[in-house]
Amino acid sequence: MHFLRYTVRKILYGIPLILGVTFISFLLMVYFGPEQTYTLLGKNPTPEDLENIRRQLGYDLPFITRYAQYLQEIFTFDFGYSASSNERVLDILARTVPVSIMVSIPGFLLGNGVGICLALCAAHFRGLWPDKLIMFFSVFGMSVSLLIVIIGFQMIFCSSYGLNWFPVQGWDVDSFFDYLKYVTVPTMATSFVAIGYNTRFFRSVLVEEIDSDHVRTMKAFGIHPLIIIIVHVLQNNLIPILTRMIFTIPYILIGGSILIESFFAIPGVGGVTYDAISSGDLPIMKAVISIYTLLYVGVLIATDLVYRLVDPRVELG
């Protein structure tokens, strides 16, 4: 009951946040975003054609009316049709979001899983050669741009100039084996970069704990280092680790990776969003921003609940 009351309260607190984010982003879209009229026009338009398209896109309406329409769309969860393709926006998202999730999840799991393991190892051997080696590779991974990693990995693992093991592009997934075939190199590329960032962050969190009194005491009592690290050090630091992980979930669900999708020709939501932004396709932009904001609010609530789960001392107040 307490949980439910807390959740409802948090949702209510989230409403002004949703209104604020949607208002500011809509303001930016309307006044600073590209106007789609000229992209949709034929080659030899008349002023009447121009007027007609502007009217159909709703550009002639007052800002406040347009924003009210936008709120109604969020409320009814119906964002209409893409101005570029005339396809229903929700159909586009339902087709592309699962693909992006499928592409992102292995990278997310690997990036965090390997990052935590390496961070634990580095923290345990703090100042010694394993720590230095791990930190060297972490900094290396962080320093190389994702673009270079993608081009390099594609050349090494996918092309006839390299090992030629995986497909260069596409997403013809009919079985789990196909899935592995298409997702391996994109995952390697994203993990390569993510592991560096994650390891450094997790290490800095864990190092403090390893130096704490209770850990020293456990060592003195001869408790196995693995138990100390996993049961005590890791568990005591779950809050910052989970916070970092949970906050990347909206990005995984709706953000996609424009670079990965572009280079591997994967039909995900990242490419659709990028095209919508560059062409000024408002219905898609509105949908993506709204869903992103809603997810973010959801994640904020979930984070507090998770805190309570991993540490019963946390008060939901």
């Binding site: 590209p34 049709y81 339902a94 499928m102 997403w171 020709a265 869903i291």
Partner: protein, 591 residues
């Protein structure tokens, strides 16, 4: 909630059949094509690029189409049974449609069975463009040309209301009456815009016909995403035999392609066409050279040195020539830099003396424009600039025309500026505009260095960039830019299509973005655009082209050249732009 549910279903679904299309059976012939951009819609109303046109003309039928191999381009009947009967005054066109042609099966039809294509379908499809709420991209082709059609669109009386200018005389005969002669009319009927759409599908799918096309063409759309389109053979496609002689086959030119062996075969030749949309040149090249992915591609400019043995003549290195066929072809269009004649600092000026000075300034800038340097640096030295706006291969192109307008003449430019009292102080700021990108910035830096050679102070040559093409187009159409760089792809092989870009009444927001308005030019255009091909018309085209060169309204032109490659087991003759409907001629030999 609906979306979340859909996402969950999608996630489960994806593990089993997440592919955009059913996989081809092992014994099926699959041709894997590539494009560097994607279509957003395959509705004939909204064809915004050649990528969309290729798909639309493969799915839908048009009355006419281009012969596959014939150069210069030539039309042949497609859904039409023959070439039309045209009245002596060139105003009335009577078309006979083939009988027995059926739309593909679709739930839009009664019992899901595709019905026969009839004359009324053509009438309906053309009328669709004039419904205001449809926002047609192709309306401009027929606007003000067909008797009563514009008025019908404005009155919005519904499809039932007849239009004087388009009538179905019987089940398979259509008659179109034009307002004035429009010799390019037949060309427009080969474009995807003129594709024949069944009313039932339009009514059933509404807006979403853009992703759910129902046609009678050689292929059916299996799936479409931002990265791939899959077309499967239309099993009910009419009997169409590949007559290579009719299509302009020449042994010397096409002999090595293996097309000769396809003569007499039923079209389409492959069971499935997969079109990948790959925007990254490195991915495209890796996929093409991999061997089991895309079978057609082109050499990215950064790879040219690795792939070519020589540029003059253009030859592949042995490693590549052993594995791939090659064709070097120029785009059917050109790139240019245009002046805004409504900008009084460089275009028209009410003071006749200043008008003359502005003319001299434009001509001096053109003299300082180094086409060869641009081609060498930005287009890897392949191709040649041509004077004026009529590209080679189009009626009106004059090979004997002086090349002065595309040759660098720094001294000439300096003298011209001096003669008209232009100096570092009096020269206006010169804005070079375009969509922001690395390449565009390189163009600008190059342009600024050329201008400084003719005496233009560096600080007066300024960059004006836009985040998106839409913003750039808006600025052009609003007449806010001093100069703008653009490219034009010809819609049909007739110089009228490029000359209309400078016809006064087409001024912004119309296609005349330079806002050029010259009474002599306008009169020539009016005359020539209504004439059938003839020596006299060719002369008028040349004269109009010459006026544009003399007026220094545009720095033109250059057709970008592409080195097309395709695998040895594929029989095809790649082309882009105007042609459309070419997938049906492609054949793949199993490896």
């Amino acid at each position: 909630m609906v979306l979340i549910l859909k996402l969950l279903i999608g996630l489960c679904w994806i593990s089993v059949t997440a592919s955009a299309a059913l996989p081809a059976q092992k014994d099926e012939l699959v041709y894997r094509h590539v494009e560097d951009g994607a279509p957003s819609s395959v509705d004939p109303l909204h064809i915004q690029n050649t990528y969309a046109n290729s798909l639309v003309t493969a799915i839908y039928d048009t009355l006419y189409e281009y012969k596959y191999l014939k150069q210069p381009f030539e039309l042949k009947p497609n859904l039409a049974a023959s070439m039309p009967k045209v009245s002596e005054d060139g105003l009335v066109y009577t078309f006979k449609l083939k009988s027995g042609v059926k739309f593909t099966d679709d739930p839009a039809f009664k019992d899901g069975k595709g019905r026969e294509v009839v004359a009324e379908d053509f009438v309906y499809s053309l009328k669709r463009h004039f419904i205001k709420s449809n926002r047609s991209n192709g309306k401009w082709l027929w606007q003000g040309r067909i008797k009563g059609l514009d008025k019908w669109g404005q009155e919005s009386g519904g499809y039932q209301k007849e239009v004087d200018g388009i009538k179905a005389l019987d089940r398979f005969t259509v008659q179109v009456t034009l307002v004035k002669p429009f010799p390019q009319f037949l060309y427009t009927l080969a474009l995807g815009y003129a594709a024949i759409v069944p009313r039932e599908a339009d009514e059933k799918y509404g807006k979403q016909i853009s992703v759910h096309p129902v046609g009678s063409g050689p292929f059916v759309l299996e799936s479409l995403s931002s990265t791939k389109a899959v077309l499967v053979k239309n099993s009910a496609y009419r009997k169409e035999i590949f007559d290579i002689e009719l299509h302009g086959y020449e042994e010397a030119k096409h002999g090595s392609t293996g097309i000769a062996k396809l003569s007499g075969k039923q079209l389409p030749l492959v069971d499935q066409v997969e079109v990948s949309y790959i925007k990254q040149p490195s991915s495209l090249w890796n996929s093409f050279t991999k061997g089991n992915e895309i079978q057609y591609g082109w050499v990215p400019t950064v790879q040219l040195d690795q792939v070519l043995a020589s540029r003059q003549p253009l030859k592949l290195k042995k490693d590549f020539s052993d594995r791939f066929h090659m064709r070097v072809a120029s785009d059917f269009g050109y790139v240019y830099l245009e002046f805004n004649m409504n900008d009084s600092s460089i275009g028209y000026h009410k003071d006749p003396e200043q008008n003359k000075r502005n003319h001299a300034l434009r001509c001096a800038i053109r003299k300082g424009f180094d086409w060869q340097n641009r081609i060498d640096r930005m287009y890897h030295g392949i191709g040649e600039a041509f004077p004026g706006i009529i590209p080679p291969g189009v009626d009106g192109f004059d090979p004997s025309l002086s090349r002065e307008s595309v040759e660098l003449d720094v001294n000439g430019a300096k003298q011209l500026l001096k003669k008209h009292n232009w100096n570092a102080k009096t020269l206006p700021n010169l804005y070079y505009s375009g969509v922001n990108s690395v390449d565009f910035r390189k163009f600008f830096v190059q342009f600024r260095s050329w201008m400084s050679r003719i005496g233009y102070p560096k600080e007066k040559v300024k960059l004006k960039t836009f985040a998106t093409f839409g913003d750039y187009s808006k600025a052009i159409k609003d007449g806010r830019l001093m100069t703008h760089s653009m490219g034009w792809g010809l819609d049909y092989p007739d110089a009228e299509n490029v000359l209309q870009l400078y016809y006064g009444p087409n001024k912004s927001p119309g296609s005349n973005s330079s806002n050029f308005n010259n009474s002599e030019y306008n009169e020539i255009y009016r005359q020539a655009s209504a004439m059938q091909p003839s020596v006299k018309r060719t002369e008028l085209y040349k004269k109009a082209n010459k006026i544009l060169i003399d007026e220094c309204v545009v720095i033109a032109g250059f057709s970008r050249t592409r080195v097309h490659l395709w695998h040895k087991n594929v029989s095809m003759y790649p082309t882009r732009e105007v042609l459309g409907n070419y997938f049906k001629y492609v054949n793949v030999k199993p490896l």
